[in-house]
Amino acid sequence: MMTNKPFALGLAGAFALTATLAVAQQSDMTIGQQLEPPHLDPTSAAAGAIDSVLYSNVFEGLTRFGPDGSVGPGLAREWEISDDGLTYTFHLAEGVKFHDGTTMDSEDVKFSLDRARAEDSVNAQKALFSGIESVEATDPATVTVTLKNPDGNFLFNLAWGDAVIVAPESIENIKTTPIGTGAFMFDNWVQGDRIELTKNPEYWGEPAMLDAVTFKFISDPTAAFAAMMAEDLDVFPAFPAPENLPQFDADPRFKVLVGSTEGETILAINNKLPPLDDVRVRQAIAHAVNRHEIIDGAQFGYGTPIGTHFAPHHPDYVDLTEMSQHDPEKARTLLEEAGVSLPLQLKMTLPPPSYARRGGEIIAAQLRQVGIEAEIENVEWAQWLEATFRGYDYGLTVISHTEPLDINIYARPDYYFQYDNAEFQKLMEEVGVESDPDKRSEMFRQAQTTIAEDYVNAYLFQLPLLTVAKTGVEGLWENAPTQAADMTAVHWAE
């Protein structure tokens, strides 16, 4: 009994403590996130979890993505582009300080961009910077970037999380102690559990509205549901259990936001593997697939059908879903015309996300209707990257391409679906150097149509962003134009 008593007292004390915390909880917020960042350097890893925590909150680039996907000024407040489109002159914001008190000036910008494109760079998106010829720090507040060729995407590229501005003074420890210029400062990381950010009192721009933000890492969908229901969390962007959303919707304590991401979810096809090198066979697969069944079955109804590799919310999107209507009869005819002996055996690799695992099983059932036997192989990400993505050892795979405006991957003949169309490659080259917005739009429309006509892949749906939040939370991004949980404008309702 003696040991039980202090225990009980301690528990009571702990309850009292949580109670007081709950009353004072008006200026901080706890965010749930499924994946934990491996480290905290957005410029040396592809992990979206790093950007989700740090993008815009802690680190800023010269330009930045807005909630609608538009590219606006970041640390660079203004810029001029020379007539030949080769020289960009950026005018930096005044009085910007890194969180360690050092000044952010043009030298830091030069350092960051040069580091990203250096020979020994480990930047996951190094290609974004490969068009840079030179970076000059003209004066402390001005940076001049010269490109090798005109690039209509350059300002867009600079908005990526991989292009944020870092300082040479703090680069050594960036992986554990990130020092940026953002409205929040990194405070603490309890590995495996949470990352804490606090408000930057000396922020150069519009200050953050919250005093502190905690990101908690909960990988299991059921645990995420429980943590939200127990009100341990205030917001869960990219909520992993769509089947539970109606429950939150019906509960007055919570609200559900349904937005869009840049993730085109596709049934990718190995275009070089016979008989998939025959466009008729790929078209047959596209017609065998029933998007609505997949969206209902794997996504509980959340997701916009797509007919090409482009985000439906983008102004240049063309709706081409008609070209690959669900039509098993037509699929069978096409397979017959192509002279494929049925049943056709194909290996279908499925990476871990539920859209792939659940969606893949539905697709396999649909393909069976037209005589295609998809042998499902569930793989981890590391296996998928090695065997499917780099080794081309697959017939079909389900995957969401989450990078914004990434139709140019179809211009890479060695990309894992191995689509090799010289005309398309030329078109992408042209759009890269075109800066007239109308002409660019026209080219993007053409590109979407070309890949749909070639039935490179079967296009399924745009991955939704499902956010669950407490009713009083305001200022959240409804869509995800890039992987980010931008907390700078988030606040509690009065």
């Binding site: 702990a14 020979e119 480990v122 559990d193 909960i218 059921t222 645990a223 229901m229």
Partner: protein
């Protein structure tokens, strides 16, 4: 006793050496490149090569094995590929959650199982015995993750007495941390307590029917006195064996419970490290767990000798 201890120590060392080879080979043949995992789908070939070089992934299998084992012997577990922090520190952080959780669960399980088992054995065939046997049957049958979710629904979602998971860290206060480990410890302890109570009961019933207990009764001890003074100590050997096995299980096998309660323990660390192909972390944690299991077995064998003097002299 000394010779007994020394032979046990020698077999401990051999087990460890064999385990290190098996673990290293099993993990190194897994397909998947940690550099490709970290840099994702848009990485260029030269970037991947630069990262592999940074991580030291270019040596031969033999070179990497020697440097891994050599490092461990000198207390250096290497640097995690993905987290880029020393593995030893990561393991220590996680151990500060998994170890207290395992001890907490084991304490709960023993505190429930001993009285329940003894009570049932001393009243064999009574309503109490049937009740304990029935309850423990249920406890063994219920999967612990399901029981964990039930606890979450009742105590976190409906009553909101506890948070649904997570761990604040020992710096935030001892009782707050204990509180956050309470539901997981109960979920882990219930099946263990059920098994242990059943073992306790049957071991005690076995010894109660032995000659020396009858002799003790014949010399005038009451049934209860005979049980406490003579039978209990002799029934402890199987119970100790089970406790040893359970502790290893609780330490290494908490992975599911750690997922349900999103606790940053060793199980979660292994899980994350395997999917990221952070081989050096996986190898070191598995090695540590093997060491822990072997060490616990060793301690249990020493404990046998303490409760049973015959073992001391035999070896």
């Amino acid at each position: 006793m000394l010779r007994y201890t020394l032979t046990r120590l020698l077999s401990l060392a051999i087990s460890l050496a064999v385990a290190s080879v098996v673990i290293f080979l099993a993990i190194e043949i897994l397909p998947g490149d940690p550099a490709a995992f970290m840099l994702g789908v848009n990485a260029q070939e030269d970037t991947l090569a630069a990262l592999r070089d940074q991580l030291g992934l270019n040596g031969t299998l033999w070179e990497r094995y020697v440097s891994w084992v050599g490092g461990m012997l000198t207390g250096d577990f290497g640097t995690s590929y993905t987290y880029r922090t020393p593995v030893a520190g990561m393991i220590a952080d996680r151990l500060w959650i998994s170890l207290p959780l395992a001890i907490y669960a084991l304490l709960l399980s023993t505190l429930i199982a001993f009285p329940a088992g003894i009570w049932a054995a001393s009243r064999r065939g009574s309503a109490a015995d049937v009740g304990v046997m029935g309850t423990t049957q249920l406890g063994v049958a219920i999967p612990n993750f399901w029981f964990a979710m039930l606890l979450v629904v009742v105590f976190a979602i409906n009553l909101q007495w506890f948070s649904a998971g997570g761990f604040p860290g020992w710096d935030e206060g001892f009782w707050l941390s204990i509180k956050s480990l309470t539901l997981p410890a109960i979920a882990l302890a219930l099946p263990q307590a059920s098994i242990l109570a059943r073992v306790m009961r049957s071991a005690l019933l076995d010894t109660l029917s032995e000659d020396f207990v009858r002799t003790a009764r014949a010399k005038g001890l009451s049934r209860r006195q005979a049980l406490w003074r003579h039978a209990l100590r002799n029934a402890l050997i199987p119970v100790l064996t089970i406790i040893g096995l359970q502790f290893s299980f609780l330490l290494a096998g908490g992975i599911i419970i750690e997922n349900v309660f999103y606790l940053p323990g060793l199980g979660r660390l292994i899980f994350q490290a395997i999917s990221a192909r952070d081989m050096i972390v996986v190898e070191s944690v598995v090695m540590l767990l093997v060491f822990a299991v072997i060490l616990v077995n060793f301690l249990v064998e020493i404990a046998y000798a303490l409760v049973d003097p015959r073992l001391r002299h035999r070896a």
